[in-house]
Symmetry: C2
Subunit: 420 residues, 2 copies
């Protein structure tokens, strides 16, 4: 038998996993600083939940891993974290609104494997359920901005409101049945350029002139865009955007009236951020308001909802581009020389002092051990020989400096901690 | 459609999930202090890997969730973290030995639902691959002991060596083909008492006299047991145990010569810990040495391996018994009074100061908001009124003391941080 991974899945080797865990910890810290609490739902759901109307849609259902349990119940691996959130909200009517939760977990899609697409991957979602105020939308964007600041990533959210875009396109002359088509094409403006957008509109039979107004806004500042749209549609049409922007003072955003974020279930606010000066082309974060979806799924009328999602993979790729170092955990390596028992005790003493300590478990020679410590990037080695033990000391080797010193165990702990 | 969970699965509500995450963070910290690094493998594996000889065994395969991908490949949800570890070791021959890894992840079993048994649950595994020395076994027990100390749980590892037990039973007169049967029965000695053990042995046709020596050891101290076994079997037979105990000086352990840990794949050292003075009857942690399994699975002869596993559920149950409080994350709740925009800014300022802040997103009245903060256990509320804003202050309410003070935002940050 040839041992291999399932197609489209990955192992995360120790250093890679450690780097991922560190980023997740920093995201979690920021999510909590905005008052979001964690929620965990199972990795699989009943098929009838995942395939319900208002859930993922036909396309995503074709990519869902399905199976049955021994009782013959139809189950499926979750394809996102939003449908399970909706199910949780529906099953827990006692929840106090707004319900603010984050979820970081694996989701699964049995789709074609392209560059950077996997059949098992992480989603990091932050959602506020039950608050209609644009304050909730602003909080998502502020939180995302805080994430980029924390990680030292240059990225700015493009922001729009779908209702405004729809109104502009309708007024420009896009027939109602072609609104979605026009939005999907226009969404690509930044990526593919005006020429290609015009070509695609022509193919779809949408008059080029119907998007002229939106396209022309590109040259203007955020304030000028808003003013121009106000002139075109009236003050009421830009009410949500005006309110949203008022809550975002001091936050760098780019008002992009062409943005719609594809086929997703968003109803008004949409936003999305890409890394600047980077080869990473996937969006680092995106989100928006989706007031129909949860209510539709649970059959309770509209339930206001807004959320922001982060891509762990593209964020890691950007950080690696910026020189993220994948380090190990071991700060000190203990090498016994016929002093196994005493060395085990010394290792324990150093751990109790708060140091991450590994101990040679294979009885290798000093030179082999130093080679190992060096190749693993362990900064300090302690050599425990019988002679030094008698004198109440051990030998500490600073691997970077190449220096050695005879010290007590307490002194070793101080040195190693001071060097961190 | 009635929305419901798949049978045997659970949602972890925010406070429960937060408590679980905190414990996982503390376990992780200790695992790393012993020089273990994280490894993450996919949630599912190829069926041929999970069902290979030396993997889980027929019993567990009957409880495995199976499915196929669109390419017709047979897959299955992992039932443990050990087989994926073995596959990872086999696929990565460049790994430096010993390979010390921890893994905390969900595993899946489509089995009958009894009290406290779930179809999706967490395993927390710590394993050292490629080290034959009893130092590695000692490290697992020391690490587990450190976990209990850190969490304030009273638990002591029972420790044994299967080779010693087998030799004692063989010498006592258990026929070779009934060795496993005798071990399984004797393993229950602590739980069901001597009478029941004798009854079961009689049913199995194993002479009661064959376990007399092992049973009689119960009354003795660790040292006396070791000495008695040495007299019975000779010095060579207790070599591993003697070495192991020498590395465990100062660690409270209970040498239990009747322990075998069921049908598992252990080859010599076995250990297991239960909470003392607790209603929680599941083991909190267990492990041992399994030198055949990984080598057998990868077809490379013996590869020494030893590991320790922790049960997140029973550990949480013990901590709850001891009065673990499930707290929220929000430290401060901001209530705007017609000052939405300014309040959003103040909330942001307080978050930047390191405080977890939620903001009223629903425009509720002060009394409704205070009620909400009280019911959520949020310790501080800031009320942002137009009059105070003009004076450059806000009103801070200490929810526990019931006192209020007019303070600057900086002073609020200091007060809240001082109260943590």
């Amino acid at each position: 038998m040839k041992l291999q991974l399932p197609k489209g899945t990955r192992d995360f080797a120790p250093r890679e996993k450690l780097a991922r865990d560190k980023i997740v910890a920093r995201l979690t810290c920021i999510f909590q600083s905005y008052g979001f609490m964690p929620l965990e739902t199972p990795s699989f759901e009943r098929w009838e939940v995942l395939s319900a109307k208002y859930a993922g849609g036909a396309e995503i259902l074709n990519e869902t891993f399905r199976f049955t349990d021994q009782g013959g119940r139809e189950l499926a691996l979750r394809y996102d974290l939003t449908v399970p959130l909706a199910r949780y909200v529906a099953m827990n009517p006692q929840l106090k609104m707004p319900f603010k939760r984050y979820a970081i977990g694996k989701v699964f899609r049995d789709g074609p494997i392209k560059l950077g697409r996997y059949r098992e991957f992480y989603q990091c979602d932050v959602d506020t359920i039950g608050a209609a105020s644009m304050l909730a939308d602003a909080e998502c964007i502020r939180l995302g901005n805080a994430v980029f600041n924390e990680l030292g990533i240059k990225a700015v959210y493009s922001v729009n409101n779908r209702k405004v875009l729809e109104a502009l396109l309708a007024k420009g002359g896009v027939p109602k049945e072609k609104l979605i088509d026009a939005m999907l094409t226009l969404d690509k403006l930044e990526k593919v350029g005006l020429d290609n957008v015009q070509k695609e509109l022509a193919e779809k039979g949408i008059p080029e002139s119907s998007v002229t107004f939106v396209v022309a806004l590109r040259e203007k500042s955020n304030e000028e865009k808003l003013e121009a749209i106000k002139q075109e549609l009236g003050e009421e049409a830009i009410k949500e955007l005006t309110e949203l922007f008022s809550y975002l003072e001091g936050v760098p955003i780019d008002f992009n009236p062409a943005l719609s974020r594809g086929l997703a279930y968003y109803t008004s606010t949409v936003f999305e951020a890409f890394a600047q000066n980077s080869k990473v082309t996937s969006s680092l974060s995106g989100g928006g308001r989706y007031d129909n979806m949860i209510g539709g799924l649970v059959g309770r009328g509209d339930i206001p909802a807004v959320g922001v999602s982060f891509g762990l993979e593209p964020i890691l790729d950007v950080l690696k581009e910026q020189g993220l170092e994948e380090a190990g955990v071991v700060q000190l390596y203990v090498v016994p020389i016929r002093t196994m028992k005493e060395s085990a005790g010394i290792a324990e003493q150093l751990r109790a002092a708060g140091i991450n300590v590994a101990l040679d478990l294979k009885g290798r020679s000093i030179s082999k051990n130093l080679e190992y410590a060096n190749s693993e990037g362990i900064p300090f080695v302690v050599i425990v020989g019988p002679k030094e033990l008698e004198a109440g000391t051990v030998k500490l080797r600073d691997m970077k400096a190449g220096t050695e010193a005879e010290l007590s165990v307490e002194e070793v702990a101080q040195r190693v901690k001071a060097a961190r």
